[in-house]
């Protein structure tokens, strides 16, 4: 049939027709808009609503930005310049720039110091943040940075941080030396250190026992609760009194015994060494060096820190201190020793159950009662202690999650290799657990950095404290709020957003192909 039909066809096309363009509604911008903006009546309403909101926002905000006054000495002058138009008064940022960044007490001729410290901090962070792309040797600078940063911000003699650094290096050398000693000399050393440590501990415990007795006597007057407390303290005191000599002997003996495998004796010797160097040698040596070669910056007491700098100092110091503490707490919570586990659980749950403000109240009004009468910890140091405790509890929970995520086989494999607890944790458990916990730790760090603004509640002058106090209550800039708060929001946004973006990038980098 078909071949007869074919004979009727007089023409055979030998080229293809060029493809016709798609209908206008199925191509380009129109298609994109149809699919992404107007794909149904509900989406159309949403789109119109969103465009309306954005337009409204721009309608208000654009003139406000565009008419902004950058050069005026006070809010009245600003309003005169604006002459009834809507407009921002950014002049306050220009006028109070230094106050917003450094607080109002930091010496004005020293502003370059925190600025330089900040830039160096970024440089010091780079080898850690991008360890894949930068040579490992740069980490030396990161290790040195705490000393440089401390000296730049707090000032004083350069020799103090240098001598502390030297003490740490010497301690590390002693540690290596003792580790490599022959058995004979090490036993002699262990004997000496054991006797010293045992005697020192016994002395401390004896002091503790008398102290407990003293407490028990001073709370005994009062009601039933006080009587009970007094009884408990008496029992504890007697317990400590009975224990102080056996404990001293036992610890001394333990150190002596450890000469064989060398774990305890090296650690105790190193601790001894650094204690002696910092407590007795730091002052004289750095003083002597400074009198020979004086290299000094003007010393700034920590109560003079303020502005955004204070937030950055609190954030960096507390996060870096709370990570090791958090690791210890997380390991303690995983421990199978009930007492240690109990202490860690109570600490973590207590801290996580109360708001940071109450802990800052503790730092502000309560902590001084718990410290020796003549000690003068300044407020910023007390705040650092409390914020570090706060964030270490949260970091401990994140790391506990990481530890729980490790398969049990990892722990058992470490055991079967004959590693002891410290080796297993250091070489096998923590590297994996920390890798899993990085996003969580970064979240805690960002949250903590935002929470540093809370110190303004206990009358410290961080950036929010500066705005609420010296700026909004000055006669020049009375009750100005949009400009300054938006500036504060902006500086926090920049830091927090970049940290969270970095964390997401790092997460992608660390994906090793599980799942």
């Amino acid at each position: 049939m078909s071949d007869t039909h074919a004979q009727t066809v007089a023409f055979v096309r030998d080229t293809e027709i060029p493809p016709a363009p798609p209908p206008a509604s199925e191509a380009g911008a129109v298609k994109w808009m149809r699919e992404n903006l107007f794909s149904g009546w509900f989406n159309t309403i949403l789109t119109v609503l969103a465009i309306f909101l954005i337009a409204r926002f721009v309608w208000f905000a654009f003139p406000w930005f565009y008419n902004g006054v950058w050069d005026a000495a006070s809010i009245r002058e600003c309003r005169d310049i604006l002459d009834g138009k809507t407009g921002a008064c950014f002049a306050v940022l220009v006028d109070r720039w230094d106050h917003l960044l450094f607080g109002f007490k930091y010496p004005a001729d020293g502003y370059w110091r925190p600025t330089l410290a900040f830039i160096l901090m970024l440089a010091a962070a780079m080898p850690v943040l991008f360890s894949k792309f930068l040579p490992r040797k740069l980490m030396i600078f990161t290790a040195l940075y705490p000393f440089i940063g401390f000296w730049l911000i707090w000032g004083g003699s350069l020799w103090v941080p240098l001598v502390v650094l030297a003490a740490i290096i010497v301690t590390a050398m002693i540690f290596r030396l003792v580790e490599g000693l022959e058995f004979g000399p090490r036993q002699i050393l262990a004997g000496i250190v054991g006797v010293l440590a045992g005697a020192g501990l016994a002395y401390l415990l004896y002091q503790g026992a008398t102290e407990l007795w003293f407490i028990s006597n001073s709370v005994s007057s009062g009601g039933l609760v006080a009587g009970l407390a007094a009884l408990i303290f008496k029992v504890l005191s007697v317990f400590t009194f009975v224990m102080f000599i056996p404990m001293g002997i036992f610890v001394g003996y333990a150190i002596f015994q450890s000469a064989e495998d060398g774990g305890l004796v090296t650690i105790v010797t190193a601790l001894f060494a650094i204690y002696v160097m910092l407590a007795y040698l730091l002052g004289p040596i750095s003083g002597a060096l400074n009198s020979v070669i004086p290299i000094e910056l003007q010393a700034v007491p920590s109560r003079d820190m303020g502005g955004y700098m204070l937030c950055l100092i609190l954030g960096t110091v507390c996060v870096s201190l709370s990570i090791p503490l958090g690791i210890v707490l997380a390991l303690g919570r995983q421990s199978n020793m009930p007492l240690i586990k109990g202490v860690c659980v109570v600490f973590i749950e207590f801290i996580r159950g109360v708001p940071l403000i109450t802990l800052l109240f503790v730092a502000n009004v309560m902590l001084a009662y718990f410290l020796p009468p003549q000690s003068n910890f300044d407020l910023i140091l007390r705040v650092i202690i409390m914020i570090t405790m706060f964030s270490s509890a949260y970091i401990a929970e994140v790391i506990r999650g990481g530890l729980a995520a490790l398969p049990k086989g990892q722990f058992e494999a470490a055991d079967s290799l004959g590693l002891n607890y410290t080796q297993a944790v250091r070489l096998i458990i923590l590297p994996q657990a920390l890798k899993i916990s990085i996003p969580g730790i970064v979240n805690v760090a960002v949250g903590l950095f935002k929470d540093t603004t809370l110190v303004s509640v206990i009358s410290m002058f961080d950036i929010v404290g500066m705005i609420r106090g010296p700026i909004q209550q000055s006669t020049d800039w009375i009750s100005i709020y949009w400009e300054v708060y938006l500036f504060a929001a902006l500086v926090f946004f920049v830091v927090c957003y970049s940290i969270s973006q970095y964390s997401q990038w790092l997460e992608r980098q660390l994906q090793t192909g599980h799942r």
Binding site: A50, T358, F370, Y485
Partner: protein
């Protein structure tokens, strides 16, 4: 024999004890460590307690909670229970605690609404809406909540009209529906006045809510056992409104509304919701809402795409897929982080002190502390309050979580 046992080891009974075993034997070593830890804890207690006793003696203070019974002598502007300046510090603390719970509850509800809407819309295929929502989430998550509270509070104080702007024929501001006035002293809204017989109306209302639940249960059993689909939405709405309105009309309007009215320099009557409460409530809600949005989004993304496609293959519409298939499953992933967000709201509500809302931090930890100087007692009590509230919230939410969890056999 080459495998000759060491005579010493062979002779020694397994139970014999040497002092060095306290260190070298794993059976005893953990006991040793714990004992040392115990002694260290006692020593720390001795150090801290001794300092405390000495410092208190030096300052001439003692630890006593007697101040809780003394008259407080300060006023609280927002009080859910009877309180005046002659009431005791203890009562002031309770008023503060109730204020904390009020703002925490309001913020939790609002933040959940914001969070679910933003989280769902962020996954919408509407480009502009999803971008707008990620903008919202990123902006609010990355700026401290204290700054948001202060910004909203400043707007409430500076940008809202003063009560006098409502006065006169050419007033610059006007009330919304003649019932709500947004002023720089707060929002004034109608206040319900409970007259005679209003308890009956409230009773009817509660009964009708119980009725709605029973009706829905009945409808569900009908559907599952007899395959009959009974419409539930309109009957529920009817049950919600009709009995109450009928009772109100039959009993001759026992519940009346008292409207705020401008008298003199300020609004009188009605219910005043202070700017500080609104600032705190709204800022906590919108800030935490951004976090909840992320949790909701993660929860929805955790549901495999096959579920959505299977539901689509059954012929469900997109909004029904979301409501009936995806959200119920996502809820299991969402609830645990939601619990910690609620806890965060409760703890962050202590920032009330920055805007002068009298929550428990403002009364007990603020004015009472300043007036009595009893720092240790008040701060400890404050921590105890928050600890109890936190533990209660997490206990309740954990029960809820266990009920929602997939029942695995």
């Amino acid at each position: 024999m080459t495998t000759q046992a060491d005579p010493q080891v062979a002779v020694k009974p397994a139970g014999s004890f040497k002092l060095s075993m306290l260190l070298n034997d794993t059976r005893y070593r953990s006991l040793t460590f714990q004992f040392i830890a115990l002694v260290a804890i006692i020593a720390t207690m001795a150090f801290v307690g001794g300092n405390l006793v000495r410092n208190l003696a030096e300052a001439g203070l003692n630890i006593s909670y007697a101040f809780l019974g003394e008259p407080a002598g300060y006023d609280i502007n927002q009080r859910p229970i009877e309180y005046d300046s002659q009431s005791s510090h203890g009562r002031a603390a309770v008023v503060g605690l109730l204020n904390t719970l009020i703002v925490a509850f309001l913020a939790c509800v609002t933040a959940t609404i914001f969070g679910v809407i933003a989280g769902v819309l962020r996954l919408s295929n509407n480009w502009i809406v999803s971008k707008l929502m990620s903008f919202y989430v990123e902006i609010f998550r990355n700026v401290p909540v204290l700054i948001w509270i202060l910004i909203i509070f400043s707007i409430m104080i500076n940008a809202m009209p003063a009560p006098r702007d409502f006065r006169g024929d050419n007033a610059t501001s006007s009330m919304l529906f003649d019932a709500f006035a947004f002023t720089n002293r707060g929002v004034y809204s109608p206040k319900p006045i409970l007259g005679d017989g209003s308890m009956i109306v409230i009773g009817v209302f509660i009964a009708s809510i119980v009725g709605i639940f029973l009706f829905r249960k009945f409808a569900r059993t009908q559907l599952y056992e007899h395959g009959k689909l009974i419409p539930t939405f309109w009957p529920s709405v009817g049950l919600f409104f009709v009995p109450v309105i009928l009772a109100q009309l039959v009993l001759g309007s026992p519940i009346t509304l008292e409207y705020p009215a401008l008298k003199g320099f300020n609004f009188q009557g009605g219910m005043q919701i202070r700017g500080s409460l609104i600032a705190l409530w709204f800022a906590l809600a919108i800030y935490t809402g951004a976090f909840i949005a992320e949790n909701v989004r993660a929860g929805i993304l955790a549901i495999s795409k096959g579920q959505t496609e299977a539901a689509g293959a059954l012929g469900l519409r997109p909004n029904r897929i979301m409501n009936l298939v995806v959200l119920p499953q996502a809820l299991r992933v969402i609830i645990p982080p939601l619990i910690s967000q609620y806890l965060n709201i409760t703890k962050n509500s202590s920032l009330a002190i920055a805007v002068g809302y009298m929550d428990v931090t403002g009364t007990l930890g603020g004015i009472t502390l300043l007036q009595t100087g009893r720092a240790i007692e008040t701060v400890l009590l404050l921590m105890l309050f928050y600890l109890t509230v936190s533990l209660l919230i997490s206990a309740v939410m954990n029960v809820f979580n266990n009920r929602m969890k997939l029942q695995e056999r």
